[in-house]
Amino acid sequence: MPDLGTLLRVIDYSKCMGCETCEVVCEFLHEQGPYIRLYELWGGVKRPISCFHCSKAPCIEACPTGAMRRDSQGAVYVELSRCIGCMACLYACPFGIPELSEVTKTSVKCDLCRSLRSGGLTPACVAMCPSRAIVLGPPRAVGDEVKRRALARVVQLGESG
């Protein structure tokens, strides 16, 4: 995989409308997926959650076989051939992200679409979100975009400027 620098993915919940497109395209690509899932919060509101690809990922620390790894772009992924399915990663994860696949008998999780990225493509959830609610890029650029959006919500300019 070409080293394109670290990637950060942030879900902008102020833009998300709960349409399920991210979950659908993820499930279409990944047989053991989806690795981004919507859950109902309250009153019919559904929102997605997926791996945060933590910079100091506890799942990598907890993995006894070295199966939980980080690729050159910062995505945390499971090397299936090394995983024993002990789910120590799930215990370590503050967000309950890793899942046990009954098919592969391993931990499975979002890898930011490694196969698409290796071909120079964008993770499917990011590419297909109608609301542009999933922001991906170098941390600096993602931070700028998210702050720009927050600013636009706080400072609402009228049409006359």
Binding site: C19, E20, G44, V45, T122, S131
Partner: protein, 353 residues
């Protein structure tokens, strides 16, 4: 939206040609899949701009226009997809909402003959009617008609005659009702009533969305069903509602609203918007060479498990198969149907017509 999210460019061109009818989320997702599998795809769309409900009905604050357009332009410019816009595909005669924006028509059976496969994704462009006295007054419109009118004006496609009403009453409890009520407020209405026959707990849009609109200033009226429209000289001046109470669960599992006799009341309005559901609009309006029997009584296309109309080279996906749903479900069906088209054409198991 990168509808061709699975590839960077179209792989070595296939000699198979596919027609996609309807450029909403299902049709465009299917197109993205098919071009990544090398197919030559022509997209037929009755409206002048692709995107379906995403372009013409859903409020912009939910989906920015350029999010849809950049995906459409990529399909067109990079993947060679031909878009035949303002072209209504139909077999037989039918009129649906938005049809006045179509400039020409194409015969579905001709497409079935000309292409190796046809994928129908025409959505739900017809609204349920209130079916009460006075509902034919000119300022009684469906949510779809209302939202379409605001969107087409914004897109420079004329009309906008439904903008600027001061007192609006919206009837219904789904997302169309929410969107119509919110757009009314955003367009300067001073008084917006949202009336639903059950309670906030049963509203299909969900309690959160209803409460959000109440915070924005919408007057939520629950347990009330429309009885008649008050009409003077062909113009609606308001609507009469009857109070309801909840009874035993009906066939949908929700408590049945039961009218309370003598509880009628009136809400004055300059515009009445009915948002009581949209129904599928397949491009099949007659016997249509045997296709007619695959349209259900509710208008849905009765496709088989592989989203194919049995024994034909016609496939179907999205709301025209499922009835109104969320964008994600339309995308799912579009991708699934496209994969089935791919399988069918790759295996050359198409039944000769």
């Amino acid at each position: 939206m990168r509808f061709a999210f699975m590839c960077r460019e179209r792989p070595g061109a296939s000699h198979h040609r596919v027609a996609v009818v309807g450029a909403g989320p299902a049709g465009l997702s299917a197109t993205g899949y098919l071009v990544c599998r090398g197919f030559e795809v022509d997209v037929y769309e009755k409206l002048p701009i692709p995107g379906g409900m995403m372009t013409f009905a859903i409020p912009r604050h939910r989906i920015p226009l350029d999010s849809v357009m950049e995906g459409v332009e990529e399909l067109r410019d990079k993947f060679g997809v031909k878009f035949f816009t303002s072209t209504k595909v139909v077999c037989g005669e039918r009129r649906d909402e938005g049809d006045d924006l179509a400039a020409s028509s194409a015969d579905l059976l001709k497409l079935v003959e000309d292409y190796d496969a046809v994928l129908i994704a025409t959505g739900t462009w017809r609204s349920r009617r209130l079916g009460i006295p006075g509902d034919d007054a000119k300022n009684v419109v469906s949510a779809l008609e209302f939202l379409l009118d605001l969107h087409r004006e914004e897109l420079g496609l004329g009309s906008g005659h439904l903008r600027g009403f001061k007192r609006v009453v919206v009837i219904g409890g789904g997302l169309s009702a929410i969107d119509a009520a919110e757009e009314s407020l955003l367009n300067g209405a001073s008084e917006v009533h949202l009336v639903y026959r059950r309670t906030i707990r049963e509203a299909p849009a969900g309690e959160y969305e209803v409460r959000r609109l109440i915070r924005l200033g919408v007057n939520w009226v629950e347990l009330a069903a429309p009885q008649s429209i008050v009409v003077e000289n062909g113009v609606a001046r308001g609507a009469v509602f009857q109070r309801m109470k909840l009874g035993e669960p009906d066939e949908t599992g929700r408590p049945r609203p039961i009218p309370i006799p003598g509880s009628e009341f009136e809400i004055e309005a300059d515009l009445v918007v009915s948002a009581i559901g949209e129904i599928p609009t397949p491009p099949i309006a007659s016997e249509c060479g045997g296709l007619g029997k695959y349209v259900g009584r509710d208008g849905r296309i009765l496709a088989d498990r592989s989203l194919r109309v049995s024994g034909t080279n016609v496939f179907a996906a999205g709301d025209v198969v499922t009835g109104p749903s969320r964008i994600g479900q339309a995308v799912r069906q579009g991708l699934q149907a496209a994969r089935e088209v791919d399988r069918a054409l790759s295996l050359k198991v198409l039944v000769a017509r």
